[in-house]
């Protein structure tokens, strides 16, 4: 098996995650899909690391995880406060962009 298959897997997971972001309305699930996309990227980075034979890819994946953690903290906090104020976790309910 060519290790490039990891990249195909990453691409597939990324596309699935992106589709999920687009079709789900529950903000939490949307968030999960974003995490899925991030993880797909991480897998790609790790595969690239192996491809190039150095650790830079892994380091970037590591930073991605840190940033993802920070993002999840803030994002979930936003969802919680959103739910408190609107009693709903649906992203469609916050369609205030159109009056």
């Amino acid at each position: 098996m060519n290790p490039v298959n990891y990249l195909y897997l990453a691409a597939l997971l990324f596309a699935i995650g992106a589709t999920g972001v687009l079709i789900r309305r529950n903000a939490i699930v949307v968030f999960m899909c974003i995490e899925l996309m991030l993880n797909a990227c991480n897998l790609a980075f790790v595969a690239f690391s192996r491809l190039h034979g150095n650790l830079d890819g892994q380091i970037i994946a590591f930073f991605t995880m840190v940033v993802a953690a920070a993002e999840v903290v803030v994002g979930l906090a936003i969802i919680v406060s959103l739910f408190r104020s609107r009693h709903s976790a649906s992203v469609d309910d916050a369609s205030l962009m159109k009056l």
């Binding site: 687009l22 369609s95 962009m97 159109k98």
Partner: protein, 648 residues
């Protein structure tokens, strides 16, 4: 001395400005002021004339450069006047006859509350006409040309409370615009051909110009002349122009306006000399109009319209003569001058008759007026004799010369033109005699006009049964009206003889227009004899028709030609069918195109933009997910494009 030229124009222009801007304060003196300024212009003209006579034939041209009008690189338009023998002739005619008409109008318009304004317009008319004949270039001539059109519009529609007058004024203006278009195109052609439009350079350069260009310019000038001088096919306004006050008719027909076309053609003689085809068209137009006007004049019962037909016919003579080239220029102008006298006299006479007949214009309701209006009768009669060419009177000399010149044209053309001119003379004699008899001779048809039945004997005056206010009381006009008529009658009688004896007029104009005797196939005596014969035939026919038999008060149905002639030989119907209907259809189709195509495009664009916006608006649904899809799709497209570019 040349500084006086501007004064010629300035005096009536000042009068017009003062009278039209002065307001009601001038109501009491306005007519005197207007007359005075017209007379002043005449006096200046006379002084200049005397001065001109004092110099040699070739040094008589004076010019005055007033100011540079449009000084542009390669385009120099000046306000400059040129006074030569031709202009001088016109100046004297315009100011002289114009002044007499001013004097006449004092009496004629006495009861019109807008008399001041009328005199203002008259002065404006004179000023415009003087600019026209004094201009030393075509552009300034065009200014005068348009000024004449404006003044005629204002005067013909002077009684604008009458819808017919307003319509007639509009018609005159519109028809004139067609001619003006010709003049403006001619000026443009001149500028492209010669690079200038001053008379001197243009007329000198005609020798080196191709005949085609000269023909084009000549035809455009002819179109202009047709408009102003009421020649076929732009003649239709003249008859309707009778809606104006009678002095205006006299002014338009005798001294100003209609003579402008003749002036233009004679002035542009050099152009026409170089374009024989254009000349031929000019003569044809003149000949056709000559017969046209004469036939119309035979059928009209309205005295002014009969005279209008006569004017058309006489101007036709002049145009015919002008079209003959150097053979005829002098005679065209000479006939113009003599015609100015007798036609002004005739119109003033007609006005005088109307004045005494409660503004009745139908000749069938006149008759036997010679007893009541002796001065009018005599002056009108002299004018009548002059116009039919009674030997010794003005018309005899001038018209006879034109007929002679027409024959002298030579070849088949000469014979045809000469015959037409002779025929015209016969018809002229017929219809003028008709006017004369119906107005001044015969039974007093106005006495029982109320019964309106020609069969009943006139023994019982209708006034007894129908009340006195119904019946006119013919009376002689006031002196302010009769004096100009008398003066004009003198002119009608003696002008022709004065001009012709010793060929004075010919020598006077020759330096400007040149003259060529031509080779007449007939001797002068033969032509004169023939003219006399047709004259007698015409008069005799009219006498038999109208003098021997009673004139019916209501017009008989008449022959087909008579009925057509009553309708001005269907000119209005022709215009209506061809121009008005055509224009309407064109307009309708344009409106249709506008509504469907243009509006369709415009509205369609708007509607499609609107519809598209409506669709696009739905994309802005406010859902973040929807926007995310478009972003994601955009990214996908970008990547696809990048990949494609790399692949290619």
């Amino acid at each position: 001395m040349e500084n006086l030229i501007a004064l010629l124009v300035a005096a009536p222009l000042l009068g017009a400005a003062v009278l039209l801007c002065g307001g009601r304060r001038l109501d009491r003196v306005g007519h005197w002021l207007g007359t005075l300024l017209a007379a002043a212009s005449f006096v200046v003209g006379a002084v200049l004339f005397a001065d001109m006579l004092g110099r040699g034939a070739e040094e008589r041209t004076l010019s005055q450069h007033l100011f540079s009008w449009i000084p542009v690189e390669g385009f120099q338009a000046d306000v400059a006047f040129q006074l030569d023998q031709l202009s001088m002739t016109f100046v004297l005619l315009i100011t002289g006859v114009g002044t007499l008409i001013h004097i006449y109008s004092i009496g004629y318009m006495e009861h019109d509350e807008r008399r001041r304004r009328f005199f203002g317009y008259l002065n404006l008319f004179l000023a415009a006409m003087l600019i026209l004949v004094l201009a030393d270039n075509y552009l300034l001539l065009y200014v005068g040309w348009e000024g004449v059109g404006l003044a005629s519009y204002l005067l013909i529609g002077f009684w604008q409370h009458k819808p017919s007058a307003a319509t007639a004024a509009k018609k005159a203006f519109l028809v004139n615009r067609v001619g003006d278009m010709g003049l403006s195109i001619a000026i443009m052609l001149m500028f492209t051909t010669f690079g200038t439009f001053a008379f001197g350079p243009v007329l000198e350069a005609t020798g080196e110009t191709s005949e085609g260009k000269l023909t084009a310019i000549g035809l455009m000038l002819l179109l202009a002349a047709c408009g102003k001088s009421a020649q076929v096919p732009l003649q239709s306004w003249l008859g309707d122009a009778m809606e104006g006050p009678t002095p205006v008719s006299a002014l338009i027909h005798a001294a100003t306006m209609v003579t402008a076309g003749v002036y233009l053609i004679v002035r542009s003689g050099a152009i026409f000399n170089g374009a024989p085809d254009a000349q031929l068209v000019v003569t044809v137009v003149g000949a056709v109009t000559l017969l046209f006007g004469a036939i119309v004049g035979c059928a009209k019962d309205d005295i002014k319209k009969a005279l209008a037909g006569s004017t058309m016919s006489q101007i036709g003579y002049m145009i015919l003569a002008a079209g003959l080239g150097p053979i005829g220029y002098v005679f065209a102008i000479m006939h113009l001058v003599t015609h100015g006298f007798f036609k002004a006299g005739l119109f003033l006479g007609a006005g005088s008759v109307m004045h005494g007949m409660n503004d009745e214009v139908d000749m069938r309701k006149y008759g036997g007026l010679r007893k009541y209006m002796p001065v009018t009768f005599v002056t009108f009669g002299l004018g009548y004799l002059a116009i039919i060419g009674f030997p010794g009177l003005s018309g005899f000399f001038s018209k006879d010369k034109i007929i002679e010149a027409a024959f002298a044209k030579g070849g088949a053309e000469g014979w045809i033109l000469g015959s037409v001119a002779l025929l015209g003379a016969a018809i002229t004699a017929f219809y003028m005699t008709r006017v004369m008899i119906m107005t001044f001779f015969g039974e007093e048809r106005w006495r029982h006009r109320a019964t309106a039945s020609p069969d009943q004997p006139s023994a019982e005056p209708a006034a007894e049964t129908h009340g006195e206010h119904d019946e006119p009381h013919p009376h002689e006009s006031p002196r302010s009206m009769t004096i100009p008529m008398i003066v004009l009658a003198f002119g009608s009688v003696f002008a022709g003889g004065f001009f012709s004896i010793g060929d004075r007029f010919m020598h006077w104009l020759e330096p400007v227009t040149r003259h060529d005797h031509g080779h007449s196939p007939l001797s002068a005596a033969t032509v004169t004899g023939a003219t006399m014969v047709v004259l007698i035939i015409g008069v005799a026919l009219a006498y038999v028709q109208y003098g021997r038999r009673p004139v019916p008060v209501t017009a008989p149905r008449g022959s087909l030609l008579t009925r057509a002639a009553r309708r001005d030989l269907l000119q209005d119907d022709f215009n209506h069918v061809v121009l008005v209907r055509g224009g309407e259809h064109l307009t309708r189709s344009l409106v249709y195109v506008d509504h469907t195509l243009v509006d369709g495009v415009v509205n369609g664009t708007a509607a499609s933009v609107g519809g598209l916006s409506g669709r696009l608006r739905k994309m802005q649904n406010g859902y973040a997910r929807s926007y995310a899809v478009s972003m994601f799709g955009g990214v996908a497209v970008l990547i696809a494009a990048t990949l494609l570019m790399r692949a290619v």
